[in-house]
């Protein structure tokens, strides 16, 4: 790795720059969280690693771009695109779950893993057929292209909103999971699916619902990320690895674990880019290894032997 340069040190001593990077870290972390939360939910309930989650994220970004382009960037078209992305991915997930995945729950772990990998290959190529290999840019939504004045520094409005949306999604998911009847059923499904069905619950319906909601979150996250990144093929691979790191750090199926993991990844990525340019992803792995050495099941994870 290259040594830390003097220029970097002076950048890190600049409070405005530090504030900027701090906010960037949270904003990136929250964006990743929205996506990782969906992956983690599916993992916790269905116990299936959905490799296609990254592909769903990418399709979400494409759908948002198409909506904005189709409406010629009219006011509100971005938010319509965000909603469309969540709905489209929800429908796609419903078809995949009901049509195929549904038949594989009793099968081996490897079968399910390869199934979602097959979906990655098919969805990725279909996206390439529909949207081509060009790179698209989605402009910031109307009214959010400016910056917010914090008194001592300015910060762009859109990433700031992303931070807020991340917190809203986290608190919303927590409220639903811990306070509502459906949340209790979902949590019960993570613990003991046989008991749940013995109690007369429609477990397959719970599975379908969770897969649809989790995938819709991937679409939502993709659409929200669209103004922040270049929408292009290959964006699915980066995000799925980032989501895995988040889920591994946080612990499988844990909502707040994913939240903390995503924040940690945001900070490592943003500050890593400044301190060790080009090596930020490697730093993320170092973080992951450190946490695994300390807690093999992640921050909030439970040992698989204990949970069965």
């Amino acid at each position: 790795m290259p040594p830390i340069e003097g220029k970097t040190m002076s950048m890190l001593a600049n409070p405005t720059f530090l504030f900027y990077q701090f906010m960037n870290s949270i904003s990136l972390g929250m964006n990743i969280f929205i996506i990782a939360a969906g992956l983690s939910l599916i993992l916790g309930v269905l116990r299936v690693i959905n490799f296609a989650h990254g592909a769903f994220f990418m399709v979400g970004a494409y759908v948002c771009w198409s909506t904005v382009t189709y409406l010629d960037g009219a006011t509100g078209s971005f938010w319509l695109g965000v909603a469309a992305a969540a709905v489209v991915l929800g429908v796609v997930a419903f078809v995949i779950e009901r049509g195929l995945l549904h038949y594989l729950y009793g099968r081996e772990h490897l079968t399910q893993l390869l199934f979602t990998f097959a979906i990655v290959l098919v969805v990725g190529d279909l996206a390439k057929m529909i949207w081509g290999t060009d790179q698209y840019n989605v402009p910031y939504p109307h009214g959010l292209s400016g910056a917010v004045n914090f008194g001592f520094a300015l910060y762009p409005a859109y990433p700031l909103l992303l931070c807020a949306i991340g917190v809203v999604v986290a608190v919303g998911m927590w409220l639903v999971l811990s306070k509502t009847r459906w949340g209790r059923i979902i949590r019960a499904a993570t613990q003991d699916r046989e008991m749940l069905s013995a109690l007369g619950m429609n477990v397959p319906l719970v599975y379908t619902g969770v897969f649809v909601i989790g995938s819709a979150l991937a679409g939502l996250g993709g659409a929200l990320a669209a103004p922040r990144v270049a929408v292009s093929p290959g964006m699915d691979a980066t995000i799925i690895i980032e989501c895995f790191i988040v889920v591994i750090i946080g612990g499988l199926g844990s909502l707040w674990g994913s939240f903390l993991g995503a924040l940690a990844l945001g900070f490592v990525t943003m500050f890593g880019t400044v301190i060790f340019p080009d090596w930020e992803l490697v730093l993320a792995y170092v973080l992951m290894l450190g946490i695994l050495l300390w807690r093999p099941w992640g921050l909030f994870g439970v040992s698989e032997e204990e949970s069965h």
Binding site: L43, R47, I49, L100, Y103, L104, R107, H109, L110, T111, L113, L114, F115, F117, A118, I119, V120, L121, V122, G124, D125, L126, K128, M129, A237, I241, F244, I245, V247, I248, L252, D278, W279, L281, V282, Y285, M288, L289, L292, L293, P296, W297, E304
Partner: protein, 312 residues
């Protein structure tokens, strides 16, 4: 039981003899295709030690293939070491990398294991991608200094055949030794195996290292064959592809993955001539296997032969 092994042995001898005759057919294309298939077959066989025999699903197996490839290429070209040192050193390095990663991964099971192997695999990819000075980054490491005695297409074919045949023989011995049998016991029931005194963690780590080492052999052959190594070799889709080869052939048979590699690679080469959308074809093939052929081609063949023997 001895008779069954004898049959396997003679079948292998016949297969090697047939492969020796491939260059005599006079098609350069066929020689190249066979070389590539043999390399992928070894790669798939190495993964099967981990999956078929110990039941640990690694989604980062391409990492050791790539490490073997990069290391062999760098030792041969950058350091100008002779092949007799470069290749073993590359293989040892792949094994050591597998030991390091395995140390972290074998503490976890099932879903966690797969995710962690994938994350480590992508770490190797990220390092290869960013470490331009050593690996050539996304331009790849090109112009591998392949020793002259295997520089020619036919010489390299025989070299690959020798290395792959010896490696396969060694893998067969490993899988059919007491070690291999104990692995199967651990796969079937980890708890019972540990009750009879098996150190399951150490055993799984050994399987991980064996798999990584043999993937390294395949990788170093691949680097010399292509005279270059590219970051795509370490990408997670490559790990997925070799998993598909293993599954297509049949997980619970020793030679199944080699058959899967041959079929899938031939398909890939064939389909790439017609369309750039190979992944969607691969995905569809995979969906069909998953839905209809859970035990792969070998399982299908067994089913068909069982049907016939019932009729007669």
């Amino acid at each position: 039981m001895q008779g069954k092994y004898k049959a396997t042995f003679w079948l292998s001898v016949v297969l090697v003899a047939l492969l020796l005759l491939v260059p005599a057919l006079g098609s350069k294309y066929l020689v190249d295709l066979t070389t590539e298939i043999m390399i992928y077959a070894l790669f798939a066989l190495s993964l099967n030690v981990l999956i078929g025999y110990s039941g640990n699903i690694s989604f980062g197996h391409a990492a050791y293939f790539a490490i073997g490839g990069y290391a062999c290429a760098i030792f041969l070209t950058t350091y100008e070491w002779p092949l007799i040192i470069s290749m073993p050193a590359a293989i040892v390095l792949a094994g050591l990398a597998a030991a390091f990663v395995g140390y972290f991964c074998i503490r976890l099971t099932d879903i966690y294991f797969s995710m962690l192997t994938l994350a480590f695999g992508m770490l190797v990819w990220a390092v290869a991608f960013k470490w331009r000075g050593v690996t050539g980054g996304d331009d790849g490491f090109v112009g591998v200094a392949v020793p002259e005695f295997i520089g020619d297409r036919y010489a390299f074919f025989y070299f690959t055949l020798t290395v792959v045949a010896l490696s396969t023989g060694l893998l067969w011995l490993i899988c059919h030794s007491a070690f291999g049998r104990t692995l199967v016991a651990v796969r079937e029931n980890r708890m019972r195996a540990s009750f009879v005194g098996v150190d399951t963690r150490r055993l799984r780590l050994t399987a991980f290292v064996v798999a990584g080492t043999f993937a390294g052999i395949a990788g170093s052959l691949f680097a010399m064959y292509n005279r270059g190594v590219y970051v795509e070799s370490a990408f997670w889709t490559e790990s997925g592809q070799v998993l598909i080869m293993t599954l297509l052939g049949g997980l619970y048979s020793f030679f199944g993955p080699a058959l899967g590699a041959a079929v899938l690679y031939t398909l890939q080469v064939g389909i790439n001539q017609y369309t750039e959308y190979w992944p969607v074809v691969l995905g569809t093939i995979l969906l069909i296997i998953i839905m209809f052929l859970p035990n792969g081609l070998v399982g299908l063949a067994q089913k068909i032969s069982a049907q016939f023997s019932r009729r007669t």
